[in-house]
């Protein structure tokens, strides 16, 4: 693995997304094509990103560690830190642009596109992480609990871990 290319791929993903799992489609496509990460790395990193403190977007630091050790984690953190500085540039031109209908419609289309990409990637990752009906049931239960907004993410993942132990461990 070339550290510079590795860093630039993470930077590109961060530059082209606005947080959360927005960088996931880019990283999945680029790193999988190069053979630098597999689907189980991605799902594991997303799980750690949900459990660990701070924004979910930090999941790519976990991906960095899983695929390239401590260097990968540091490169991923650096790639996450630079794009937010562009907010200051956007801030300068935002007042003029935000009122234009075309800009508003374009931003809406982008948001819909991001959601579409998230769904497509989640479905492709489901292929490796869901093996049978028990997996489908756990995924559906997690989706339902998350949408109810009454149960914290960490509790959902704790329950899922417990369900895994009971269903597969005994």
């Amino acid at each position: 693995m070339n550290p510079l290319v590795y860093f630039l791929l993470f930077l590109k993903a961060s530059l082209l997304s606005t947080g959360g799992l927005g960088n996931l489609p880019f990283l999945q496509k680029d790193l999988t094509l190069l053979g630098w990460a597999n689907n189980s790395d991605f799902v594991t990193a997303i799980a750690v990103g949900q459990i660990s403190p701070g924004p979910t977007g930090l999941w790519s630091i976990s991906l960095g560690y899983l695929t390239f050790g401590w260097l990968g984690a540091v490169l991923a953190l650096a790639a996450l830190s630079l794009p937010p500085l562009l907010t200051l540039v956007v801030s300068a031109s935002y007042n003029r642009l935000e009122k234009l209908p075309a800009v508003q419609d374009f931003t809406r289309g982008l948001s819909m596109g991001v959601v579409g990409l998230t769904l497509a990637v989640a479905i492709s990752l489901a292929g490796t992480s869901i093996q049978d009906w028990r997996g489908i049931a756990i995924a559906a239960a997690a989706l339902g609990l998350a949408l109810s907004k009454r149960v914290p993410v960490i509790v959902i993942l704790g329950l899922a871990g417990l369900a895994g132990c009971l269903l597969y461990g005994l």
């Binding site: 982008l110 596109g113 997690a142 989706l143 993942l157």
Partner: protein
């Protein structure tokens, strides 16, 4: 920093690249103390949470071969898929609610773009960048053609 400034910073964070909370932190730090404020605010957010994220991954790598951990992961990984889908739904919800108020055709246009983006990425080898640009362009075209019901009465009043 007053509430209006904070709301503006929040709106900016939604549309510029990077993690929302990091951008918000950068803007607040810059507004209050300039570049030193920006640096300390970002370091204060990213170093502890990023460090813990990396350490948790390292800890997990050590214990991942334990049978009980593997069983737990077989429950946690499918749940992660469910949570990712939920994040997508939650991101779409406010925009879709707004689109529905603007008329059924506008809602249909939004859903069409969403489904089109998912299918394009899922079934072809097109880069996600192209998919997003196409989604933005499609929105400009479709939303220009399909009228916004909530805006028409205002126009009549103005005329």
């Amino acid at each position: 920093m007053d509430e209006a400034e904070f709301v503006r910073a929040w709106a900016l964070a939604q549309i510029s690249p990077g993690i929302n909370l990091v951008k918000l932190t950068a803007l607040i730090g810059y507004q209050l103390r300039g570049w030193p404020g920006l640096m300390t605010a970002m370091a204060g957010l990213l170093l502890p949470s990023g460090g813990v994220t990396a350490l948790m991954t390292a800890g997990f790598s050590v214990i991942r071969s334990q049978p009980l951990i593997q069983a737990a992961m077989r429950g946690i990984l499918p749940a992660t898929i469910g949570l990712s889908l939920a994040m997508g739904v939650q991101m779409a919800q406010p925009l879709l609610t707004q689109a529905r108020q603007e008329g059924h055709l506008r809602l249909g246009a939004h859903l069409l773009i969403l489904a089109g983006a998912a299918l394009l990425l899922g079934l072809s080898s097109v880069s996600p960048v192209i998919v997003l640009l196409l989604a933005g362009a499609a929105a400009i075209l479709l939303l220009a053609v399909v009228p916004d019901k909530t805006r028409q009465p205002e126009k009549k009043k103005a005329a």
